[in-house]
């Protein structure tokens, strides 16, 4: 097996006196899609914040393309090709739909994603390109958030709870679009509470519980019982 694109080793994270992650080890290989599942408060979002640099770690706790990036600033990590679709969309409210997308590509990283390709993927956004991003429906906002991340032509993209708060039909259409998005050899980490959705797109799964990895394995080899034991801690 080739070297992983991204790996965390013994990753701890703290908010003040509160420790949120305990020795988390995960690997993402080039072109691989993994899922991280777990209930609320299991540490999934903290793990995403640590990988993207919003939380600072000891340098060697996070390795990307063989470089220790744990202590790097978030914008420098982004420049190395890691993008995130944050939980709750988090669009820039003073920017229009198009501006939200364009600013996603402001680093000028080379790749196949550009405004035109985003508009092909989500035609509705082209129609509504000049309205304020927050005037869109939840599902459309999620499209903008995904488009914004793709515009940077990342090598690794993190999806944090992309189905949260959306209608089932919208969730389905977003998950239907995912293979097209990730198909380009991009790696992805999908953070989900919806286990079935996560298993449908990811090759491997990590299950988190109370800040630790409680289970890891190939999606098609894990049983329901194993997963619910790891998920709920029963």
């Amino acid at each position: 097996m080739p070297d992983p694109l991204l790996s965390t080793k013994g990753l701890d994270a703290h908010y003040g006196d509160f420790q949120a992650l305990f020795g988390v080890d995960i690997n993402v290989h080039p072109g691989e899609v993994i899922a991280i599942i777990g209930s609320n408060g299991a540490g999934k979002t903290t793990l995403m914040r640590s990988i993207t640099g919003l939380l600072s770690n000891a340098p060697d706790m996070v390795t990307y393309r063989g470089d220790a990036v744990g202590g790097l600033r978030a914008d420098l990590i982004a420049r190395k090709g890691i993008a995130m679709v944050p939980e709750g969309r988090q669009l820039f409210q003073s920017l229009s739909v198009e501006e939200n997308l364009v600013i996603g590509g402001q680093m000028g990283r080379k790749g196949s994603w550009d405004l035109q390709k985003i508009f092909e993927l989500f035609p509705i956004l082209k129609e509504r390109r000049s309205v304020p991003a927050t005037a869109l429906s939840g599902g459309q906002q999620q499209m903008v958030a995904m488009g914004r991340a793709l515009m940077s032509n990342p090598d690794l993209i993190l999806f944090d709870e992309i189905s949260l708060g959306l209608a089932p039909i919208i969730i389905k259409s977003i998950y239907d679009a995912l293979p097209d998005i990730i198909g380009d050899g991009m790696s992805a980490i999908i953070v989900e509470q919806d286990i079935a959705k996560a298993l449908s797109v990811a090759r491997r799964v990590y299950c988190m519980q109370e800040g630790r990895i409680s289970l890891e394995g190939r999606s098609n080899e894990l049983s329901r019982e194993q997963i619910s034991a790891a998920y709920f801690g029963v």
Partner: protein, 287 residues
């Protein structure tokens, strides 16, 4: 006739006040920072202009070519070196650090230039005037300043809402964390915002120095005029700031027309009336 003249002159003066205000409004919009030393930077720019005019023997308007980039450079270094460390949830550190800066600039200028009032001489431009219908004469210099003020506001408006830099300003202002996730270095973006703010201060300072005499102590007064223009116009609205400046200038001139001692008081009272009646300003844009 005197009254109409007072009002026209007040409108033109309002342009200068809008220049005082624009930089203040800009950095508040981007990083919620209020620079208490803003007025002292205006005076610093005026003294810088004075020194360069004397040293190079050129017209004060020409020194804008030097003053503006120098002030922008000071702004960038100041923001990255000092002010970025003060930003956070607590409003005290930026407030007190810029207050300390204000004292440092005032006394530094006093040390170098003494307390004597100074003025820059723009030559024939200062006395030139154009006749307009109704028997009024409008000074070319005040008119030029007003036009420049409008152009600066239009330019800032364009930068803020049409350029990549403005997108970065608004994105960082909206959500700092997320802006970093798309590769924006917020320390650098804030530095650029302060650079732009002090670039405008450079223009304002040189114009101030041509228009009236100045000394190291007048900075806080300019800060207050700029602040009043921002609040009257409505937070975050650059064109509103221009109108705020005009209202302030006209009020002052009307006050002075009634009684010379009432000039500044009339401006403050106009501000307090707006604050009482429309606390968010006449044309608010952001909270």
């Amino acid at each position: 006739m005197d009254w109409i003249n007072a009002i026209v002159q007040g409108v033109l003066l309002g342009g200068l006040y809008a220049l005082f205000a624009a930089g203040l409004s800009l950095i508040f919009g981007v990083m919620r920072l209020v620079n208490i030393a803003h007025g002292d930077f205006i005076v610093l720019a005026a003294f810088l202009g004075l020194s360069l005019t004397t040293a190079l023997g050129v017209n004060p308007l020409t020194v804008l070519l030097f003053v503006v980039p120098i002030m922008a450079g000071i702004g960038y270094v100041l923001q990255r070196g000092v002010l970025n460390q003060t930003l956070g949830d607590d409003i005290l550190p930026p407030l007190l650090v810029t207050f300390g800066l204000s004292i440092i600039i005032q006394n530094g200028l006093l040390e170098i230039y003494s307390a004597d009032p100074q003025k820059m001489n723009a030559g024939a431009l200062e006395t030139a005037s154009v006749a307009v219908p109704g028997g009024l004469h409008i000074g070319v210099l005040p008119l030029l300043m007003f036009v420049v003020a409008v152009a600066v506001i239009a330019g800032l408006q364009w930068i803020f809402y049409r350029s990549a830099l403005g997108r970065a300003f608004r994105a960082v202002s909206d959500k700092q964390d997320i802006a970093q996730l798309i590769g924006l270095n917020k320390a650098h973006v804030f530095g650029l915002a302060m650079a732009l703010s002090l670039a405008v201060v450079g223009i304002a300072g040189v114009f101030l120095g041509i228009r009236t005499s100045f000394d190291p102590s007048i900075g806080p007064g300019r800060l207050i005029f700029g602040f009043e223009a921002v609040i009257i116009g409505g937070l975050g609205n650059l064109w509103g700031t221009l109108i705020g400046g005009i209202i302030l200038g006209v009020s002052q001139n009307i006050g002075a027309q009634i009684n010379p001692g009432w000039q500044l008081l009339a401006g403050h009272i106009a501000f307090l009336i707006v604050l009482a009646v429309k606390p968010r300003g006449l044309f608010p844009r952001i909270d």
